[in-house]
């Protein structure tokens, strides 16, 4: 009985995590490709520019530019979305451990992982 319940919960966590990961990679890569296509036709970057141009992670500005259809900003937004994907996956497993399975131990473990990951993403130099 308990074993069967646990199996069902495990299936749910697997499905939800798989869904978050797939949605994350597909949307971020499509955004990058769209941005690249726009930028290739509009900005016509040469090889020297493509192999040296960096960007500042100023997300509000990137968001504003991307909504105006700026190709480069769309690429940058896609990169940001890709970096967020594994973190969203951790958040999704935490939600299911807590809300669906009432598995407080693993919900707490996942919460700590989420906290530490966000901390190092934001704080470290």
């Amino acid at each position: 009985m308990k074993e069967a319940e646990r199996k069902r919960g495990d299936v749910e966590i697997h499905q939800a995590s798989a869904w978050v990961l797939r949605a994350g990679v597909i949307s971020s890569v499509s955004m990058m490709l769209l941005g690249l296509a726009i930028s290739l036709f509009k900005d016509r970057p040469d090889v020297a520019r493509m192999s040296s141009l960096g960007f500042k992670p100023d997300y509000l500005n990137i968001l504003r530019q991307a909504s105006r259809g700026n190709g480069l900003a769309l690429i940058e937004l896609g990169i940001f979305l890709l970096v967020l994907t594994p973190i969203l996956r951790v958040a999704a497993s935490m939600a299911i451990f807590a809300a669906h399975e009432r598995d407080w131990f693993y919900a707490a473990v996942t919460f700590l992982v989420l906290l530490l990951t966000l901390a190092s993403l934001l704080i470290l130099r």
Binding site: D46, I79, L82, V90, L116
Partner: protein, 296 residues
Amino acid sequence: MVKSPGRGKRLAMERSLLWLFEVGGASFAGGVIGAISGFGGGIVIVPVLTVFLGLPIQHTIGASIISVIAVSSGAGSVYVKDRITNIRIAMFLELSTALGAILGAAVLSRYLGGPSLYVLFGITLLLTLIPILANIHQELPENVRNDRLAAALRLNSSYFDHRLGREVSYQVTGIPQAMGIMGVAGVVSGLLGIGAGVVKVLAHEIYMKVPTKVSTATSNFMIGVTAASAAGVYLRRGAVLPYLVVPVATSVLAGAFLGTKLMERMSNARVRQVFAVALGVIGAQMLLRGLGGLRH
């Protein structure tokens, strides 16, 4: 000779497209190998882009950390759906990796670092080849009993093996040792800014004695989180080049999807062989990089 401006423009566009395809081709192989062996594929991408395409190392490492996230998420979505990944093991051990990474990056990087660390890490990896090679032909670990912690944490599980055509149940042991190794993996990735997926596979393989497919799939799942936390540093340094990342991320992702299909059909012994070769290459790479740095 005067060229018409239209022709010059077209030529520049062709060169740009060619460059994008070259970078993409190199990254595709990285995705395939990364997905099978359980680490992001940076070992293929960094040297190929640096040596053959002449890109500066700090830019290729920035692209590599993004590619680790793409491989981990893309391959992860398949392995997790097919339930080869053990999510409980991943979540529990991610905790010690995350702690180690913060310790490494925030505290230890002030005292440690530089070439000698690469040398030490390289030698350690090459030494771990010995126990891997000793079991190179073993299909599934035998006589493994849950240790107390693994039983309490309900880490034992099962997966469907396409090659063997049956459900394989497995028990898990050596949790305290594995936690220690995962902490070290975290410290290493915090210090060197790498995903350290290779160390994670080793902990699964040598101490926890889970089937190789489960170790590489679970390690693949974990490295995305470690790489995502490290990515902030690279983004702030401006080491992530948008035009470079698009072909890299797109092709490693395509490679990773192919890699998952190959891995699910391979035997555990074959997966271990791919992993052992990659381990040897990474170990040698680290060692050479460290020795090169010591000379300067």
